[in-house]
């Protein structure tokens, strides 16, 4: 286990989201009223940054790009969402929020993301 302090509880008021960086790992914290969730800040659909597209109401996290939703209480996808969110274990101790971020969680398709377009210009047209 590698529990890291992510933020003070006051930094994520009830029914809100916050993005934080711990040891170079970006972590979203959702305060859904009855507790907290910690997860990577990317929608598992099209990697939309959930710090911009995410909305939290009534315990439901919604990505506004295509309205995929997840129930923060159960952690399950609902509605038209086709993929589950990955979650870090999270806990509150005194006034701080901690998450178990021993290793960055990445979605199956994101593990070797290509940030650099150089060198693959001819990918599709290569003989």
């Amino acid at each position: 286990m590698s529990w890291k302090k992510i933020c003070a509880a006051t930094e994520v008021p009830k029914n809100s989201l916050g993005k934080f960086v711990v040891d170079d790992i970006e972590v979203m914290i959702a305060n859904y009223g009855e507790g907290y969730r910690a997860f990577p800040p990317r929608c598992p659909h099209m990697a939309e940054p959930l710090c911009e597209s995410g909305m939290l109401f009534d315990g439901l996290l919604t990505c506004s790009k295509h309205l995929w939703q997840w129930d923060m209480k159960t952690g399950e996808k609902i509605g038209i969402a086709e993929r589950e969110l990955l979650f870090y274990d999270v806990k509150q101790e005194d006034d701080d929020i901690y998450a178990n971020v021993a290793q960055e969680l990445v979605y199956e398709d994101d593990d070797d993301e290509d940030e650099d377009d150089e060198g693959d210009e001819d990918f599709f047209n290569a003989d």
């Binding site: 309205l67 086709e82 070797d112 290509d114």
Partner: protein, 346 residues
């Protein structure tokens, strides 16, 4: 060429000799492939190349930022097959329902082009053949001297349409809008593909409707109002329309909206929302059928609709900040996502 599309639920196989883009070919075969803008921006139509060669017709498409290119991802709306292909689409893909308006390539000619405001133009395009579309849909349109298709929502609504009307906003860095505003468009021959888009209205919906639009986004809402008016929809259900622009000088379609209100009666309420100024007193005198308010259109809509969000279907159209703001208003009011419809073009 043989094309195989492996979706999460099943595979589709077909032959194609057109050389058209893969999205167009699939949709034209009533395969409901994932897409949103259809014009290279949103990334929704991404797929993965398993085998074969493709030609990317717009390598600079903004939607490529959503791709993992080392995994062979590409935009179906911009790529055509050069050889037999096997591709993979991550989502579930179904065939379109019977009676759906299946998209097709159509040729047309600009019949009229007229300014609605200093930077908004109405473009009417006469079609070589009739087309059926649903209220709220859009078409991709390409002009001969400007590369690429643009997605524009239809303003009108009728079955077997011989003409489609669009609203074009002049954008400072928009190649096509600049061309349209700086040239005589009449009689110019254009290519179209459509109809596209799922933010559609049907009279069998049997819900109150809420429309929140900004600027040229009112186009698709006009089509929805047209169909609803034709079907007498507002004799049974309520309609609330909020149309946001910056100033009174930016308003348009006020005569047409007034006519909808006259035709449909008290169950249809139309509010014009100005973000940068109060409406002059003359506005209310000139357009007694309409209500004028000041503010951000999604916020005004949220305040006006308080307590009236039940049994509602919401249609949103306009710039992304407006659509996102409106989604927030609707989610906060506990409108379920299946009752929030919009086509994001970004």
């Amino acid at each position: 060429m043989k094309i195989q599309i492996n979706a999460r639920n099943r595979a589709y196989n077909f032959d194609d000799a057109s050389g058209d883009k893969i999205l167009s070919i699939g949709l034209n075969r009533a395969i409901d492939l994932p897409y949103e803008c259809g014009s290279g921006t949103c990334g929704t139509c991404k797929a993965r190349l398993i085998s074969g060669k493709i030609i990317d017709q717009w390598p600079e498409a903004p939607g490529r930022k959503y791709l993992k290119r080392k995994k062979g991802e590409f935009l179906m709306c911009q790529c055509a097959a050069e050889t037999d292909l096997v591709i993979e689409v991550e989502s579930f893909v179904h065939t379109m329902e019977a009676g759906a308006c299946v998209p097709a390539a159509i040729k047309g000619r600009v019949g009229s082009a007229k300014l609605l405001t200093a930077d908004v133009m109405s473009l009417q395009i006469e079609l070589e053949q009739t087309v059926d579309f649903d209220a709220g849909q859009f078409m991709l349109v390409q002009f001969p001297d400007v590369a690429g298709f643009r997605g524009w929502s239809m303003v009108n609504y009728q079955r077997h349409a011989r003409m489609v009307e669009f609203v074009i906003k002049k954008k400072p860095d928009g190649d096509l809008s600049n061309w349209i505003f700086n040239n005589n468009c009449e009689d110019v021959e254009v290519e179209l593909f459509g109809p596209l888009g799922g933010a559609t209205f049907y009279s069998r919906l049997a819900k109150n409707i809420l429309c929140i639009a900004g600027g040229s986004g009112i186009a698709g809402i006009m089509s929805i109002l047209s169909r609803a008016a034709q079907d007498g929809y507002f004799s049974q259900y309520n309609g609330d329309v909020f149309f946001g622009v910056r100033t009174m000088a930016d308003t348009f379609f006020l005569d047409e909206l007034s006519e909808f209100r006259r035709q449909c009666g008290d169950n249809l309420n139309i509010t014009i929302v100005l973000s940068e100024e109060d409406a002059p007193a003359s506005a209310q005198t000139d357009y007694p059928q309409l209500v004028f308010e000041r503010g951000y259109v999604h916020e005004v809509a949220g305040q006006n609709m308080e307590g009236r969000f039940e049994n509602i279907r919401a249609y949103l159209a306009g710039p992304p900040p407006l659509v996102n703001g409106a989604i927030g208003v609707l989610l906060r009011a506990r409108v379920t996502t299946d009752n929030i419809r919009y086509d994001k073009f970004s």
